[in-house]
Symmetry: C2
Subunit: 157 residues, 2 copies
DNA sequence: TCTGAAAGCCAGAGTCC
DNA sequence: GGACTCTGGCTTTCAGA
């Protein structure tokens, strides 16, 4: 992960439709060398995949909501995680420090869908101690573009 | 946005590297018809862009943190939003219902970087009423893949 | 690990059905 | 919308350094 890899990775993250010819200009190397580096970055898992970014509203999920969940550890916790992974309206679920167990990010068509999800899937779960629902009224920023940090010591092969 | 568009959109979201030949198989149409539909979906903004997905840890941002911010409305609020949009370690910022103004999602190299950010950028802001910092200890799920909902009535051209 | 060239593939435009 | 064609540009691969 040297400076050239970093340039390539930043470029493909911003524009995944860029061809090798474009990337070669960015990296300063030849097309074939750029292609080899990109292939290695994919093999090493630095580049995980390629995706089209969709407009949430256009795709029928204008509603953004967050759940805070406190759940008893153990068997109930396992069941909760299994459910979370199954539900495609759940985009993210992280276990956080603090008194709440989980933060859950949801994308849904409308409030009715949210209420249905809560009533039929979430609330019936055993071991739920507290649930809080918050709705996004506005989004100041929402990007999947990661900052690519230059780590001084990790100039590996 | 009919059933065929939906198939195309789901396919390119999952695999943005798929060629038109693959997409044609998915859609059931010819290659040229599939290409036209995809082009229209991009023009209409349903497909917003193309990106490579990176591994956060590999890119030097293993630490995931969330901020809760309560800020006085008005001039201070504007300044806060401007800062948020500028910082590339801030991936998301949403205004939520409830007593906290904002939920902020951060990706950072380590705790030291988080503390630096808080001390130098966030806390000095005027009008800050409350700030809470939470760190992700584990991630159960994290995807950018939106659910593509079939909206019964919006069968437009 | 890079360069450069050669070979093969795919997307894009045009036409007709 | 489908099928066909052609062309340009791009990706891929390989020899050579």
């Amino acid at each position: 992960m040297d400076e050239i890899d970093r340039k390539i990775v930043i470029a493909v993250q911003q524009d995944g439709a860029a061809g090798l010819a474009d990337l070669a200009k960015v990296s300063g190397l030849s097309v074939s060398a750029t292609a080899e580096r990109l292939k290695r970055l994919e093999e090493r898992g630095v580049v995980r995949g390629w995706h089209a970014e969709l407009d949430p509203a256009e795709v029928g999920c204008p509603l953004l909501a967050f759940l805070r969940v406190a759940i008893r550890p153990g068997k109930e916790d396992i069941a909760f995680r299994r459910l979370i992974r199954k539900l495609e309206t759940v985009l993210e679920c992280h276990q956080l420090t603090g008194e709440w167990s989980y933060l859950v990010k949801l994308r849904l068509p409308d409030i009715a869908a949210l209420e249905t999800l809560m009533a039929e899937e979430i609330r019936p779960l055993a071991g739920m101690e507290r649930i809080s629902v918050e709705i996004a009224m506005a989004t100041v920023k929402e990007t999947a573009l990661l900052p690519v940090i230059r780590a001084p010591e990790e100039e590996e092969a």
